[in-house]
C-alpha cells in the first residue's frame, strides 16, 4: 500500500504539531471491576487527561515556545465529555482543539486511522502522543499512526527533543530496556512520550479564561471517512487473584527467621540447614570430627585400635540409645546401670571429654548435663514408684 508523502516543510516556523489526548480514569483512583464482569466501573469516578498525554502536550508547547512550531492542535476522540479534556489542553496553551465524536470505546487501530485522516487534512510536522493510556495500557496507537502514515517513529521519548531548523529532523532520547537510546528522525514524524520527558505545567487562571474562546471543531467518523475496525472483542473483565495478607514482623531477626522457615523462597536453598542431607548435615560433620579424634586418643591410651565408626550410624545409635536408655531407666533399675555405662562412654564423645582437659569450656557443661539428666530420671523413677504404690494400695 502507498506510503504517505507529506508536502515538504519549507519553514519550520509554520509547522503544526498535532497532539492526541485521551480522557481516562484519574491515575490516583482505585478502580473497581463491575460485578457483571463487563468492564471497570467508570460512573461517578474522577476522570482526567491521561498523564502521558499531558507530557506530550507539554512537549509540543515547549517546542512552539522555542520557536520551532507555529501551532499546537489538541485532538480528542470519544464521548462529549472529551471536550472538558480539550479545554484543559487549551488552558495549558494549545491553540485549538478537535473533538471527534465517538460513543463506544474504539480499538487503538481505529483511533490510529482517525488520527491518520486528521493528519492528511491538517498536515502537521510532528504528531505527539503519550506512550500509553493508563486505562488500557495498550502502548500501540503512536506506532500504528506512524505505520499508517509511513512516517518514522520515536517511542518512549525521555530527555528533551531537539529540532534542527535547517535539516528538518529531531533528535530523541528513548528509554529502552537496557538504558537510553538516541535516534534522529526525519520530519514529519510521530513521537510518543515517556514519564521523564518533562513536568507538565498547570493551567493558570488567565489561561483557563482564554481557553474558553479558543475554537473546538467537532468532527465525525463520516467526515473523516474512517471505517471502524472491531476485530477484538472483550469477553470479560475480572479482578486478579488477591495476595494473601501478610504479617508484620518486629525485628530483623524475626524477618530472617520467617524467610528461612516460612517463606520457602528458593533463595534460602542457598543457606538452608538441610537437616540430614546426604552426608548427615553440619551437625554430623562435627560429630565425625569428634569421633575420629576420640578414636585416635582412645586407641593411643588403651593400646587397642578401635574400628572406624560410621558417623551416620553413630548419630542414629546415639539418639536411639538416649531414648531407649531413658525409657528403660524409668522402668527397670538394672538398666539404669546400662545407661550409666552409656553416659560414661558415648556422651563424653559428644561433649569432647576425651579431647579437652578440665580447663576447656566444653568440660563442665558435660558434667552439668549429666547431672541434669540423671536428676530428671531420678524424679521420673520416684513418680513411677509413687504410682506403683498407689496402685498397690488400691488393690
Amino acid at each position: 500500500h502507498q506510503t504517505h508523502k507529506s508536502a515538504p516543510l519549507t519553514n519550520l516556523r509554520t509547522m503544526k504539531i498535532l497532539v492526541a489526548v485521551k480522557r481516562v480514569v484519574d491515575y490516583a483512583v482505585k478502580i473497581r471491576v463491575k460485578p457483571d464482569k463487563t468492564g471497570v466501573d467508570t460512573q461517578n469516578v474522577k476522570m482526567s487527561m491521561n498523564p502521558f498525554c499531558e507530557i506530550a502536550l507539554e512537549e509540543a508547547l515547549r517546542i512552539k515556545e522555542a520557536g520551532f512550531a507555529k501551532e499546537v492542535v489538541a485532538v480528542s476522540i470519544g464521548p462529549p465529555q472529551c471536550v472538558d479534556t480539550l479545554r484543559t489542553g487549551l488552558a495549558m496553551g494549545a491553540d485549538r482543539g478537535i473533538h471527534v465524536e465517538a460513543n463506544s470505546s474504539f480499538l487503538p487501530l481505529t483511533i490510529a486511522k482517525i488520527l491518520k485522516s486528521l493528519a492528511d487534512v491538517e498536515n502537521p510536522g510532528l504528531i505527539f502522543l503519550g506512550k500509553q493510556a493508563i486505562d488500557d495500557d495498550c502502548n500501540q496507537t503512536g506506532q500504528m499512526v506512524a505505520a499508517l502514515l509511513g512516517w518514522p517513529q520515536a517511542t518512549f521519548a525521555s530527555k528533551v527533543v531537539v529540532l534542527d531548523k535547517d535539516k528538518q529532523f529531531a533528535t530523541v532520547d528513548r528509554e529502552v530496556d537496557g538504558g537510553l537510546e538516541t535516534l534522529s528522525v526525519d520530519l514529519p514524524a510521530v513521537i510518543t512520550t515517556d514519564l521523564r520527558l518533562n513536568q507538565p505545567r498547570y493551567a493558570t487562571l488567565p489561561n483557563i479564561m482564554k481557553a474558553k474562546s479558543k475554537p473546538i471543531k467537532k468532527m465525525t467518523l463520516e467526515d473523516l471517512k474512517v471505517d471502524i475496525k472491531s476485530d477484538i472483542e472483550i469477553v470479560e473483565v475480572t479482578e486478579p487473584k488477591k495476595r494473601k495478607s501478610g504479617v508484620i514482623v518486629s525485628s530483623v531477626d524475626e524477618l530472617i527467621d520467617k524467610l528461612k522457615n516460612e517463606a520457602h523462597a528458593s533463595l534460602w536453598n542457598y543457606y538452608r540447614f538441610s537437616g540430614f542431607g546426604v552426608d548427615g548435615g553440619p551437625a554430623a560433620k562435627k560429630l565425625a570430627l569428634k569421633l575420629n579424634l576420640a578414636n585416635a586418643n582412645l586407641s593411643s591410651r588403651l593400646w587397642v585400635t578401635l574400628s572406624n565408626i560410621e558417623v551416620r550410624q553413630a548419630s542414629v545409635t546415639i539418639v536411639s540409645l538416649i531414648a531407649i536408655g531413658g525409657v528403660i531407666f524409668v522402668i527397670r533399675k538394672i538398666f539404669g546401670a546400662y545407661l550409666a555405662v552409656y553416659f560414661t562412654i558415648v556422651s563424653p564423645i559428644l561433649y569432647d571429654i576425651y579431647n579437652n582437659g578440665p580447663e576447656d569450656r566444653y568440660f563442665s557443661p558435660f558434667w552439668i548435663e549429666l547431672f541434669k539428666i540423671s536428676l530428671q530420671l531420678q524424679i521420673f523413677r520416684s513418680y513411677k514408684a509413687k504410682i506403683m504404690q498407689s496402685m498397690r494400695m488400691d488393690e
Partner: protein, 354 residues
C-alpha cells in the same frame, strides 16, 4: 416415534458441532516470532516467547526471525536453532539495514517475510523492542494487536492486564488476518530443556526488499549500564529502593544487599526521577515488570503504579518507616523501621551465600 425424531435431531446437531470443531482444529497454527539477540546469543525473553507460542495450540510450527548484520547475527542464529525444541526454523535477515532495532525497517521486514509464507500468529516479547515494533507491524497488516499478554487460553483468546494490573481483560481476536501479540515474559517462565533439537537455518533473500528512502530514522547512540548483576527482568531476587534513600551514595547499600543475595537492583519511579539510579532500573506499570522469588522493597511507599510491576513476585518483603504505607498491604512480610538501620543489620546477619 417422536422420541426417535428428537434424538435423531440431537445426533445431527452434535455431529454438526463436532464437524465445526474439527475444521477449527485443522486450521494449522504457524507462528513467527521476532527474536531479540545480543552479542551472538538469543535473549531469554525470546525463549519465553517460544514457550508462550506452545500454548497457542496443538499443531504449531514456530519460526524465529533474526535480523542484524555480521558474524554475531550468524552466531545468534545457530544458537537460536537449538534454544528450544519447539523451534522448527530460524530465518535470518542479514543486512546493514538491521544493524540496530529500528522500527521502520524491521516492521517492513516482518511484512516482507509474512508475504512469502502465511503465518497465523506473529509474536514478540513485551520488551521495549517488541512494544516498539509489533504495533507498527499490526497496522501495516491492518489488524489489531493484543499487547502484554499474560495468559493464552487458546489460539485466539488471551488475557491481558489493564488499569496497571488492577483488572484482567479477557479478549478474543476475531479478525481474519494474522494474530499479532506481545508476550509478557514473566508470565511464561522457561523450564530447563532436556531434549535438544536443531532447527533449520535459512537466509532470507532480501533482494526484493524495498525500504522507504524518504523519511527515515537513524541510530545515533546509546548509553547502557554494564553490570555483572543479573538482569532485572529475569532475576530471582530483586532488591528495590525508593525515594527514602535520599542519595546516590545511599543506594550503594541496596547494591550491597543485592550483591550479597545474588540479586538485581530495582528502583521506584521517584528514585529514578530524583536521579539516584538510571532509568532502566525502574520497576512498575511503565517500567519493568518483575516476578522474582523474593522481592524486597526498602523505603517504598507502594503506589499503585509500582505495585503493578511486582504483583507476581512469590514473596514480597517491605521495610518502611511509615506503618500506613500501602506497600504493607501487599507485602508478605513487613517491617516498620528505618531502612538506614535495617539494611546494615541485614547485611550483618544474613548468612553468606555458600
Amino acid at each position: 416415534m417422536m422420541r426417535a425424531i428428537l434424538t435423531k435431531k440431537k445426533l445431527v446437531l452434535s455431529n454438526a458441532h463436532r464437524f465445526i470443531s474439527i475444521t477449527n482444529l485443522s486450521r494449522c497454527i504457524s507462528t513467527l516470532i521476532l527474536a531479540e539477540h545480543e552479542s551472538g546469543s538469543i535473549k531469554p525473553q525470546t525463549v519465553s516467547t517460544v514457550v508462550a507460542a506452545n500454548h497457542l495450540g496443538e499443531s504449531s510450527s514456530v519460526s524465529l526471525l533474526l535480523a542484524g548484520s555480521g558474524s554475531s547475527l550468524q552466531e545468534a542464529a545457530s544458537q537460536a536453532a537449538s534454544c528450544h525444541p519447539s523451534v522448527s526454523e530460524v530465518l535470518v535477515a542479514d543486512s546493514d539495514r538491521f544493524e540496530y532495532p529500528l522500527a521502520e525497517p524491521w516492521a517492513k521486514l516482518v511484512d516482507f517475510v509474512r508475504q512469502q509464507r502465511d503465518y497465523s500468529h506473529i509474536l514478540a516479547s513485551s520488551s521495549s523492542f517488541g512494544k516498539n515494533i509489533l504495533p507498527r507491524v499490526a497496522a501495516l497488516l491492518d489488524v489489531s494487536p493484543v499487547t502484554d499478554v499474560v495468559k493464552i487460553l487458546g489460539s485466539n483468546e488471551f488475557i491481558r492486564p489493564i488499569y496497571a494490573g488492577n483488572a484482567l481483560c479477557r479478549v478474543r481476536y476475531t479478525g481474519a488476518g494474522p494474530c499479532v501479540l506481545t508476550i509478557r515474559t514473566t508470565s511464561f517462565p522457561v523450564t530447563p530443556i532436556t531434549e535438544s533439537k536443531k532447527a533449520t537455518i535459512s537466509q532470507i533473500d532480501l533482494s526484493k526488499f524495498k525500504e522507504d528512502a524518504v523519511s527515515r530514522s537513524r541510530y545515533v547512540g546509546q548509553s547502557t549500564q554494564d553490570t555483572e548483576r543479573p538482569d532485572l527482568g529475569s532475576a530471582r531476587v530483586v532488591i528495590t529502593g525508593g525515594r527514602a534513600l535520599k542519595s546516590v551514595e545511599n543506594f550503594k547499600m541496596i547494591e550491597k544487599l543485592a550483591e550479597k543475595l545474588g540479586g538485581a537492583v530495582g528502583a521506584t519511579r521517584a528514585a529514578v526521577d530524583a536521579g539516584y539510579v538510571p532509568n532502566d532500573l525502574q520497576v512498575g506499570q511503565t517500567g519493568k515488570i518483575v516476578a522474582p522469588e523474593l522481592y524486597m522493597a526498602f523505603g517504598v511507599s507502594g503506589a499503585i503504579q509500582h505495585l503493578a510491576g511486582i504483583k507476581d513476585s512469590k514473596v514480597i518483603v517491605a521495610v518502611n518507616k511509615d506503618a500506613d504505607a500501602p506497600i504493607f498491604q501487599v507485602a508478605d512480610y513487613g517491617l516498620v523501621g528505618d531502612l538506614f538501620e535495617v539494611i546494615p543489620e541485614l547485611l550483618e546477619k544474613l548468612p553468606e551465600k555458600k
